[in-house]
């Protein structure tokens, strides 16, 4: 059956990955076995997702749409899962007997996100969103010491629950005024109906649930606490794959409304507040993960700029930027996990002397941060250029100016990190970090890719443009 082939990556993730770890979680704990299996299976999963790039089809009574757009995001998600699992090698923040469950939850979360990017019925989308959120709540609560993890998870859950309540209310309004939650039908109905207040309120509130995932104002408060309170690989996963999925959904939802000025204005306001608040607060952070969290918030603001252009170019640039966020945030967390002794959190000052203890990590960190700040010739710059070009094409020149000044602010705290890594003397001489060859290799690949994709972005851009063409 053709239909089931199109569902291949999800089926694999669900039954093979999920099934194996469901079984493992019932067996006695064996972290090594779990890690190796997870790596192998996730790598195969990535392969399957890549193989499924050109699948298309409508499944499940047209609530599920497989197209190039969704498949590209699924590849990114599979990659995010693989990378997040890669970081779990020692996984000291989580008790050994929870490791299998950790992989299970990561897998289920990825599965949920894959469904999010393909779901074209808003109800399915909502349930998938909830599934991914709940997996993350539980993952966050696994962090040791238990009390800390649980407290963070509860806080995360409370904000998440209110965001999803807001989203549900929005969905109710949309359904009430349009009589359907099917994306294709909404696409024909909404542009004409966008003048009606209940419709625009409904769409905005619906977006609220995504704002939570992407940590945009006013649902951004959770990010720093959760990043800080979650185990490092989990935080990495939240910062990478989770964002990618949220971006995909946001694109799909906003694309529903056609080109609506009112909505664009609302998004513009949110973008400005989000990035300014994120960047300004990041300056005073001492904990690296908190800083990364605020920087993620700010990145969310930039993402919004691309989306609110509401043009194919804007969506394409956002798609491109999703990859940028995925790779760069992962690079930062990769360094963080390797530096963090015993799986604890890392203060910016702890990076002192990184330059001498591990030059390759220091280089990776610097490249990632410069790229996040949008310095050429990195992939981050290309991403920002695309975003801003799309926005200026629609006349949001002032917004771009504000965003650029935010970039300058962000550079200040990125430089603080680089300063710590390259210039600060450690309080006592640090032993050289013994990185495995594969770690060094990965770091090298990441650095190379960051620069190379910045210099030769054409194929990636072409892919992103092809992806959004199917949005219609």
């Amino acid at each position: 059956m053709v239909g089931w082939t199109a569902f291949g990556p999800e089926l694999y993730t669900c039954f093979v990955l999920g099934g194996v770890f469901l079984v493992f979680s019932l067996l006695p704990a064996n972290p090594r076995r779990d890690y190796v299996t997870a790596m192998a299976l996730a790598a195969v999963g990535l392969g399957i997702s890549i193989a499924g790039l050109h699948l298309t089809g409508d499944l499940f009574a047209d609530t599920y749409h497989v197209d190039l757009f969704s498949q590209i995001f699924k590849i990114m998600l599979a990659l995010g899962l693989l990378l997040a699992i890669y970081l779990c090698e020692h996984l000291r923040g989580i008790a050994p007997r929870r490791h299998a469950e950790t992989y299970l939850l990561l897998t289920v979360c990825t599965l949920a996100m894959m469904m999010m990017v393909s779901a074209v019925n808003l109800l399915t989308l909502y349930v998938a969103l909830e599934l991914s959120s709940y997996s993350l709540y539980v993952l966050v609560s696994f962090r040791q010491p238990r009390t800390g993890g649980v407290r963070t998870a509860v806080r995360y859950f409370l904000i998440g629950a209110s965001a999803s309540a807001v989203m549900l209310f929005g969905l109710a309004l949309l359904y009430g005024s349009c009589g359907t939650l099917d994306a294709a039908t909404l696409m024909t109905l909404l542009p004409a109906a966008m003048g009606r207040p209940e419709v625009i309120t409904g769409l905005t509130l619906t977006l609220g649930g995504i704002f939570f995932k992407l940590a945009l104002f006013p649902f951004h408060f959770w990010a720093p606490d959760v990043y800080e309170g979650a185990a490092n690989p989990v935080a990495a996963y939240i910062a990478t794959a989770s964002k990618v999925a949220a971006i995909a959904v946001l694109i799909r939802l906003v694309a529903l409304g056609g080109q609506n000025v009112l909505l664009a204005r609302a998004l513009a306001v949110i973008a400005v507040i989000t990035m300014t608040a994120g960047n300004l607060t990041a300056i005073v952070q001492q904990d690296l993960k908190r800083m990364l969290a605020y920087s993620s918030i700010a990145q969310g603001g930039y993402v919004l700029i691309g989306i609110l252009s509401m043009t194919p170019a804007g969506y394409a640039s956002t798609t491109f930027y999703a990859l940028v966020v995925l790779l760069l945030k992962f690079s930062c967390f990769f360094v963080l996990v390797k530096v963090a002794a015993g799986g604890r959190n890392v203060a910016i000052d702890d990076l002192a002397g990184l330059h001498s203890s591990s030059p390759i990590l220091a280089l990776l960190l610097m490249m990632a941060l410069f790229a996040l700040a949008g310095i050429p010739p990195t992939i981050g710059f290309t991403g920002k250029l695309l975003l801003f070009t799309a926005a200026v094409q629609r006349g949001y020149f002032v917004l771009v100016l504000i965003a650029m000044f935010n970039v300058v602010i962000s550079l200040y705290y990125y430089l603080r990190v680089i300063h710590a890594a390259y210039l600060r003397k450690p309080p006592r001489a640090l032993p050289a970090l013994n990185l495995a060859l594969r770690d060094r290799l990965l770091a090298g690949v990441l650095v190379t890719f960051t620069v190379a994709a910045g210099i030769f972005p054409a194929p990636l851009i072409a892919l992103a443009e092809a992806a959004v063409r199917v949005l219609g």
Binding site: P376, P377, T389, Q393, V400, I461
Partner: protein, 493 residues
Amino acid sequence: MPIAYAGFPFLSAILLSCVIGLVTILFMPAAQHRRIKMVSAVCSGITLVISIYLFLAYDKSAGGLQFAERIAWVPSLGISYFNAADGFSLPMLLLTGIVFFTAVLTMWELETRVKEFFALVFLLVAGVFGLFMAQDLFFLFVWFDVSLFPMYLLIAVWGSTRKEYAAMKLTLYLLAGSALILPGIIYLVVKSGLSTFDMLALMQPGTFTPFQQKLAFLLFFIGFGILAGVWPLHTWSPVGHVAAPTAVSMIHAGVLMKIGAFGILRVGIYLCPLGWQYWAPLMALLATVGIVYGVFVGLAQTDLKYVIGYSSVSHMGIVGLGLSTLTIDGLNGAVFQMFAHGVMTALFFSSVGYIYDRTHTKAIAELGGLSHSMPRAASFMILAALAGIGVPCLASFWAELMVFIAAFKVYPLYGTLAVCALVVSALFMLRVVQRTCYGPPRSRYAQLPDVSFKLGIPRIILATVIITFGFFPSLMYTMIQTASLPLMGGLPW
């Protein structure tokens, strides 16, 4: 504008030479200082040789863009790798080659983190070269940022006085500049409706409305102006000069600040001539204030490097004044001044750097009588100071002369003020020279070695260049003329 495509990609060869140097150094063991320096010298030498060759090989009678090379890069966005050189960029390329080569030689004695130092310098210079030859806005901006970022580490790691503060301030200031330039570029590209970053295509008259030109020019003027040290956005510059290690100061003051002025010229003036015309009075005002301010603040300084730093502000003011006159003479003078000031200031910093390395002080009050203990070092410094004053038969004399002639025609008041300020600057430069090089010899400096032959090479090269172009200004003048005449002739007013 006529374009002559190159048979051999000389311009890319310059960049490639930098990249090869960078990569080679990155893969060399950090302990092999001497080899790293050798590689640096060879690669920078190649860039110098190519840039000299290009300067001589440029067909002045044909004019226009020559040695062009072009590859489509991201076709969907209209980005192409497009390099070419004209009468404005060739002097800059030559300048960069000279300063780069001499800076590498000047740092021959460096011992700390040698590998990273030269790697970063190569990265920086690659950006500078790239910017001077880029004809595509995208690449121009990329090179612009590439040339800025190594500065942070270069100053923060190898610098001296308040280095971390200076590095952070410099980086943030310059990045704030690029925060204006990038939106400006995007704005122009989008508004042109051509969806191309190709400057030649965007340059066509009538592409932009007057309002668009005014807005974009303002963005470029401020954005690049920060880097060019335009008053009141110059404050990063003296601090940065002082904190930076010698070679970086040389590159920084000698080349990097020129990027700013060159950016205003290449992007602002070429693409937004109406904006240039509109904002010229403001440019003139700021430039004059900069000249006067630089001189008087320089008077009050007690630190040798601060003196040069503020004199740089003043000299870059002259460039700005030249650009703001909207005349051929002004343009010629401005570009000539960029070249002359680059070489002169590089010499100045390298001699001061030598003195600092030996005496471990930059305070004017603590120095004195150096001409007794190290006569060669003192003479390089005196030559640089004289060039800075604008003594005839040295390169900067001609540059300043042309600018002032043009300024007197267009802005008599500003011109007068600037000339008066220059007279004052002559006084204070001479005072500095007198305090440091003459006077009673200090016993504690008596035993210090003079500039050795090896360390003297870069300084001799710089001095030679200053004197050569002082005696034969037409070498430079005719070159610049090939670009400034068509520019002024093709303008819409």
